[in-house]
Amino acid sequence: MAELQLHSVGKRFGDTVALRPTSLEVEKGEFVTVLGPSGCGKSTLLRILMGITEASSGEIVLNGRRIEALPPDKRDIAMVFQSYALFPHMSVRKNLAFGLEMRKVPKDEQRRRLDHALQICNLAAYVDRMPRQLSGGQQQRVALARAIVMQPSLMLLDEPLSNLDAKLRDSLRHDLVALHRQTGSTSLYVTHDQAEAMAMSDRIVVMNGGEVVEIGTPVSLYRNPRHVFTASFLGQTNLMPVEAGNRQARLPWGDVVPLESNHRGAAVVSLRPENLALTPDAAGHGEITAVSFMGAQANYVVRIADFNLKASRSGGEALLEIGARVAVSVTGPVSLLAETPALGRAA
C-alpha cells in the first residue's frame, strides 16, 4: 500500500475553489514533486497536508493512518520551508534537537540521530552557531537536518531552494537528491521551477488552476505530454495545429508524421525544439530568423508556413546564419495534446 494516499482531497473558500478534489498516491521512499505556477493550488495542497488548512472534503492516509483530522503536531510529517523557519534564539544543535525533545525521544537515541544528521548534512562544524551566523545555504541545510532527525513518514519540502542564488541552488539540489537516497524518506517537494522538478523527481505531479493536470515520470511527461499545459510548462516546445487521421498528422507545411493516436480531425501537437532537424537547403521551406548561441547548444527560430518554430542544434555544429534557407524534418516523437481541462475557473 502506498505510504501517502490522498482521496478526493479538495478545498473551497466560499464560492471559490482553491483545490479541486485531488487523488494522489506516493510510494514509500519515493520523491514526488508537485509542480505548477503560483496560484495553481499546490500551496493549498501543502497546507492541507501540514494541517494548517482544513480540507473541505476527502481523506488523507499516511502510513496506514487517517490523518486529515489530526493537528499538525500529531501527523508525523516534517516540513522544510522556503524561509528556513529556523528558531532564531536556538543554536543549530538546539534547533535539531527541538523536535526530538518534543517527541520525547530518549537522550542516547537523540544523540545518535543528531550526529548522523549533522554528518550527512555536512554541518558538524556549525553545531554551536546561531542561525544568524550562517549563510543562506547553511541555514537551509540546518532546516533539512531538522526534518531528517525526525525520521518522519513524510517529508514536505516547500520551495526550499528558491531563496538561494543560482549556483548554490544547483549544488544544494544535488545534495538534496543524495540526501534523499541516503535517508530513503518519502518526500513531497513543491516547486514552480520545472528544471528542479525534472532533475530531482521520481515522479512529477503537474498542477494548474487548482487541479492536477497530469502525473508521470520526468521523462514521460517531457517526451509524451498529454496536455497543452504540461508540454508548454516543462521545457520549450512548439505547439502546432495539425490534421490527424490514419495514425498520422499533417503539419502546417505539408510534412506528415506518425502518431500514436487514432484521433481524426483537427488537433494540436507538441514538437520539442531538439526533435527538429535543420538542414541547409537552398530550396527548403524554412528561413532562419533568429540565432542564439548558448554554448552547449544553439537555438534558432525558423520561419516556416507562417509559423515561428523553435529549433535547437548541438553547439558543436557549424552555426546557421540569419536568412539561411533550411529544410525542417521531425526526428523525434510527436505527441497529440488535449487542451488542459478547466483552466482558471476558480481564480
Partner: protein, 265 residues
C-alpha cells in the same frame, strides 16, 4: 562598494565635536548643578560656587524616615505596575481600546476620577491603590510594545514548531515567550521608569499617606520652604533608573540583533 555622497564631504570631526559638546553640556551641566546643590551647606546669590560644601543635606534626606519609605514605595509601586502589565490576561485584546484611552487623557484627570473610585472601594491612600492607578498609565505602553514584538514573529516559525511535534503550550514556552523577551524587557523598563517618576496620579490618589520620590520632591519644592539642596538630592536619586535603562538598553539592542535573525524570514 561605497555610495558616493551627493554633497561635498562635511567636516566630520567638527560636526562630531559640536554635537558631543552640546550633548555633554545639556546632559552633564544640570547633573553637576544638582550635585553642587546637594552638597552645598550655604549658597548665596553672587557666588558661582557654594560657599561651603557638606554632606549634611544627604544625611538629612537619607535620615528622614519618609524618604526611605518613599523610595521603597516608588520601587514597590513601579515593580507592581510592571508585573501587572506583564501578566497575560484573558480578553486583554478586547480591552485594548478601553485600556488605551487613559494614555490620551491627562494623568491628573485620570487620577481624580480613579481616585473617586478608589475612595469608594476603600483602597485610596494605599500602596495597592497607587499600583492600580499607575498600571492604568503603563498598560497601554506595555501592550503596544508586546503587540509589536508578537507581530514580528513569523507564522512559519509556529508552523515549523508544530510540525516538529510541539503543542500550543510548548510553542508558547519555547518560542513565543523567549522571542518576546526583547519586547518584554523594553516595555518593562519603560513602564518601570514611567512609573518610578509618575507624579499626577500618585499625588491625587496616594498623597500625603503614600509618598513616592516624585511627590516627596514636590514637597521640598513647595513655595513656602523651597529646599533646593534637598530637592537636588531627590532628583539625583530619581536619575538612578535612567542609568539602569542605559545599561539595560545596551543589552536589549543586542537581543534585538538576535531577533533580527528573523529578518530573513
Amino acid at each position: 562598494m561605497t555610495v558616493p555622497s551627493l554633497t561635498s564631504e562635511p567636516p566630520r570631526p567638527l560636526v562630531a565635536t559640536v554635537l558631543f559638546l552640546t550633548l555633554a553640556v545639556s546632559v552633564t551641566l544640570p547633573v553637576v548643578l544638582l550635585v553642587l546643590w546637594s552638597l552645598s551647606g550655604r549658597w548665596s546669590f553672587p557666588n558661582l560656587l557654594p560657599n561651603e560644601l557638606s554632606l549634611d543635606n544627604w544625611w538629612q534626606v537619607l535620615g528622614d524616615d519618609g524618604i526611605g519609605r518613599a523610595a521603597l514605595n516608588s520601587l514597590t509601586i513601579a515593580v507592581g505596575a510592571w508585573a501587572m502589565a506583564k501578566v497575560p490576561m484573558r480578553g486583554k485584546r478586547a480591552l485594548e481600546m478601553f485600556i488605551l484611552a487613559p494614555s490620551i487623557i491627562p494623568g491628573i484627570v485620570v487620577g481624580v476620577s480613579v481616585g473617586q473610585v478608589l475612595l469608594t472601594l476603600g483602597i485610596a491612600y494605599t500602596t495597592f491603590g497607587v499600583i492600580l492607578v499607575q498600571t492604568i498609565g503603563t498598560l497601554p505602553l506595555m501592550i503596544r510594545l508586546l503587540t509589536a514584538s508578537f507581530e514580528t514573529l513569523p507564522d512559519e516559525l509556529i508552523h515549523a514548531a508544530r510540525s516538529l511535534g510541539a503543542g500550543p503550550l510548548a510553542i508558547f514556552r519555547h518560542l513565543i515567550l523567549p522571542l518576546a523577551v526583547p519586547g518584554l524587557m523594553a516595555g518593562g523598563l519603560l513602564s518601570f521608569v514611567g512609573s518610578f517618576e509618575e507624579f499626577d496620579k500618585t499625588f491625587v490618589t496616594g498623597a500625603p499617606v503614600i509618598q513616592t520620590l516624585p511627590t516627596k520632591l514636590y514637597t521640598y519644592l513647595d513655595p513656602y520652604s523651597l529646599q533646593f539642596p534637598l530637592a537636588a538630592i531627590v532628583s539625583l536619586i530619581l536619575l538612578l533608573p535612567v542609568l539602569v535603562v542605559f545599561i539595560a538598553a545596551g543589552r536589549i539592542m543586542r537581543d534585538d540583533l538576535m531577533a533580527g535573525g528573523m529578518g530573513k524570514l
